[in-house]
């Protein structure tokens, strides 16, 4: 396969309503059925989906996909004016597929065919005409284009038929039939009129995989919460987190759970802390601006030792910032954003699978450590789709972290008993013999307000101690690349890990001694492992999407050395190429 490493990148671009996103969904499904791995990340420049340009971007590969890649091998235009703006993001030998028979002449430079350069291959296909032939309207131009793609890249038409059947399963049988016709017309047009570029041939066999889910990071996180036994969700809509609430609103009531859409984020977390206090598995999800509003109540959960899960789907900030652009700039907010010494556990998944597994695990951790667990996702991770084998859901091993339940005895119950581990056995309201008080005020072990300095010191230490202990129970950070001395050590977190990994394995860096360190537990960071990693690396480069280098700052604090910050805010996922260049600079 061409392009970056071994993959094919297809972009389908149109205006809202042209069906570019649903075409990409069908393409994803078909490719997954054929046994390919996919990563799909759509973009909507408008603040709200459904207006203006929309671009479906999918990377198809025989091996697991780490990043969506930048330059597309193929651009499908369902709207030339929008697609022309994507021309800077395609390879010099890209395939461009466009409507050769639009209804009217367009003004100069409004037709993508006018921009096809030597080296590229243009396929003019009468998308509208063929769609009209199939469904009596231009609505299925996207499906005609898919049929053409299947022919151009020699993909299994059966897999596309199956994907269409899945996509339209809830529609009338005629809708499915018509779309199948549209697909075939597009396919046959290429077979009859076009030569396939032999350079790219997916040589797909008849499809075999059936147990694949294609889900987004948000859906995976929501499903992880459901499978963890979520009982209560409260939230206030915000891009890019809203999908989590939408997903749960559909599914949680069926599992005897409750979803509440509150009037704002302060109320949402208030509800969640209340449910956590009652011993329920409770969660909210938001983005940076909403998370800011939640911090005060989050502190209450820290002080009152209530386990809850909060997902922050980060976007460009500060303030309303860049609602539909990805960024990893809430790390400091998640780790340090509270009054007083307010330790909390912060996790960050690297991919869609981990959105599922880490969210599911987060509930155990929150309950066992009686503290808020914050999961840092971001726009890119929330909205990207990946193929997940069904086994991910079944093979999850629950019960790694378990809560210590209080047992009623003769002595009065001390809800906040000082222990070596820092964890006090927990009880919930209504449990006989375990009545207790909780408050946001500093308190004695029995929960009563206590402002004594000595008590405060012991309580602060206990809360920090219990959280620090997770470092020893949590799996070691993932390390890749050179196992011994390395000229460059790459550290990254969250959704940037994929790009960092791809950079380390990039052919331009083959032969160099490079190592990677990729924690999922960001706070408390596993400092022992980090120091060891640091000791074996001549230079440390921290890759993240924020301008100050927030993780870099944390690493410097722990390792007491200067690191190279590859901290950027390009408003899109990090570019493998720029990481590679940076590493090359260090190696020189």
């Amino acid at each position: 396969m061409p392009n970056q490493t071994d993959s094919l990148i297809i972009k389908i671009c149109g205006s809202a309503g042209d069906g570019s996103i649903s075409a990409v969904e069908i393409l994803n499904r078909a490719c997954a059925l054929m046994g390919f791995h996919i990563m799909n990340f759509d973009s909507y420049p408008a603040e709200i989906r459904g207006f203006g340009k929309s671009v479906g971007h999918t990377r198809i590969s025989r091996s697991p996909v780490l990043t969506p890649g930048r330059l597309a091998d193929c651009l499908v235009s369902l709207n030339d004016v929008h697609a022309i703006t994507e021309l800077s993001r395609i390879t010099p030998d890209a395939v461009i597929l466009y409507d050769s028979k639009p209804p009217d002449y367009v003004e100069e430079d409004h037709a993508i065919a006018g921009f096809i350069q030597p080296g590229m291959t243009g396929y003019g296909i009468p998308l509208r005409d063929l769609s009209t032939q199939a469904v009596k309207s231009s609505r299925s131009r996207n499906i005609v284009a898919l049929g053409a793609l299947a022919a151009i890249y020699n993909m299994s038409l059966d897999a596309f038929m199956e994907a269409i059947a899945i996509r339209f399963s809830r529609k009338a049988a005629a809708v499915m039939k018509n779309n199948e016709t549209a697909l075939k017309l597009g396919h046959d047009f290429i077979v009859q009129h076009g030569e396939r570029p032999a350079r790219i041939d997916l040589q797909a066999q008849h499809w075999t995989r059936t147990d694949i889910s294609i889900i987004s990071g948000n859906e995976a996180a929501a499903q992880g919460a459901l499978d963890a036994g979520l009982s209560f969700y409260a939230g206030y809509p915000i891009t890019p987190a809203t999908k989590i609430m939408e997903y749960l609103a559909k599914k949680l009531p069926g599992r005897n759970g409750v979803v509440v859409q509150t009037e704002d984020e302060i109320s949402a977390i208030g509800h969640v802390v209340g449910a956590g206090y009652a011993g329920k598995r409770a969660m909210t999800a938001t983005s940076g601006p909403g998370f800011c509003l939640m911090t005060e109540t989050l502190n209450l959960a820290v002080e009152a030792e209530i386990g809850i899960v909060v997902i922050d789907c980060m976007r460009g900030g500060p303030s309303t910032g860049l609602p539909t652009k990805t960024e990893q700039s809430d790390l400091y907010l998640a780790v340090y954003g509270g009054s007083g010494d307010s330790p909390r556990i912060v996790l960050a998944p690297a991919d869609v699978t981990e959105c599922y597994t880490l969210t599911r695990r987060a509930f155990e951790v929150a309950e066992a450590f009686q503290t808020p667990v914050i999961i840092l996702m971001d726009f890119f991770l929330s909205n990207r789709f990946e193929d997940l084998p069904g086994s991910i859901f079944e093979s999850f091993r629950s019960g790694v972290f378990e809560k210590i339940q209080a047992i009623a005895g003769d002595d009065p119950y001390l809800r906040f008993a000082i222990t070596d581990s820092g964890i006090s056995p927990v009880a919930y309201p209504g449990m006989k013999g375990l009545q207790h008080t909780i408050t946001g005020l500093e308190h004695s072990p029995n929960g009563f307000p206590n402002y004594d300095g000595d008590n405060h010191r012991r309580m602060d230490a206990k809360r920090q101690r219990k959280i620090d202990n997770i470092r020893f129970a949590w799996p070691s950070p993932e390390e890749i690349g050179s196992p011994d001395r390395a000229d460059a050590g790459i550290i990254s977190w969250g959704s940037s890990i994929g790009a960092a990994m791809e950079a380390i394995r990039h052919p331009d860096l083959s032969g160099a001694a490079i190592a990677g360190f990729f924690p999922r537990l960001l706070y408390p960071i596993q400092d022992g492992a980090l120091k060891q990693f640091s000791d074996r690396c001549a230079e440390l480069i921290v890759v993240e999407l924020n301008s100050s280098g927030q993780m870099a700052g944390m690493v410097e604090q722990i390792t007491s050395r200067k690191v190279i910050r590859l901290a950027e805010v390009p408003a899109e996922p990090p570019a493998v190429e720029s990481i590679v260049r940076q590493i090359q600079g260090v190696l020189k």
Binding site: K101, Y105, V106, H110, A111, A113, G114, I116, Q117, P118
Partner: protein
Amino acid sequence: MKPPHIVIIGNGVSANRASEVLRENDPDVRITLISREFFLFYFRHKLPAFITGSIDEDSLIVHDLHFYMDRNIRLRLGQTVQKIDLENKTLFLSHMEMVHYDKLLICSGGQSHIPEIYYPFRSFFTTLKKLSDARDIRKKLPLINRIVIVGGDLTSLRLADALIRSGREVSFILDDFAFWPIESGPDIRHALETALKKVGATVISGDPLERIERISDGDPPEYAVYTRKGQQLRAQMVGAFFGFKPDVDFLIRSGLDIDRGILVDDRLQTTYPDVFAAGDCAQVYAPHLNNYWVSIGWKNAIMLGEIAAANMSGSEQPVSMPVEQRIRFSDLQLKTPWWHAL
């Protein structure tokens, strides 16, 4: 103010030379070249050598993309001008885009000429004008042993020579219509016959083509070629080589004056202001003859492109009639003002 937009239809030698001169004369003017061929500017006379595999595609290229980038010339390749609205100075491209111009230069070149009496067999004929034709022939060639060439223009001589050298059997049916643009009298035909035989071709002269039948649809297909006097030849490819004529069909209803080519005065201006034509597509007025001439040939196309560009930039240069040159093929010697030995 936006700089004026000069559009050139064509990306052949006259178009390229014109664009170069236009840019030298004015650094700011917007220049766009439009060509329906999806390939960079190339040497057409090298196509026979490409067909037989003695050179590759890269060695055909005259200008790579940098030529255009360096001169800030927009190159639109693979785009066909379907029609022109001369009143509104707008070109209509087949992919449904409009392009507006302030000045237009038409350098649409020539196309393979097939005499009308042979129209019924058009679909059987292979012609050679464009790189895509050459690619097609090159692809088919490994399966082809026998080729019949009807006509016999200057292009076919070079192609025949290359094909024979690569081990193919080539038969010519020399024709009265052949050899356009050169007037071919009996003595030229005789000299040509001798020259062709000398390079190893079988030649039928004075017995023109009567009909062609496709006798098998295999890959490659097999044709039976019959002459008027009843000779029958078998071939897997039948080439038609009757010279080139100006490629102006798309302009027929435009309002431009068209005869064989686009009629232009000796400044290369058409009957419409701001519209010029140069190269093989132009039919140029010669005041001293009070008549028009068409040139099919590389060097004259350069000269015409250059003069058209100068006049579009404000000069008043007249074109002078090209002078006769001597060209050779094997022992054959010809004199022509159009075609040059390249």
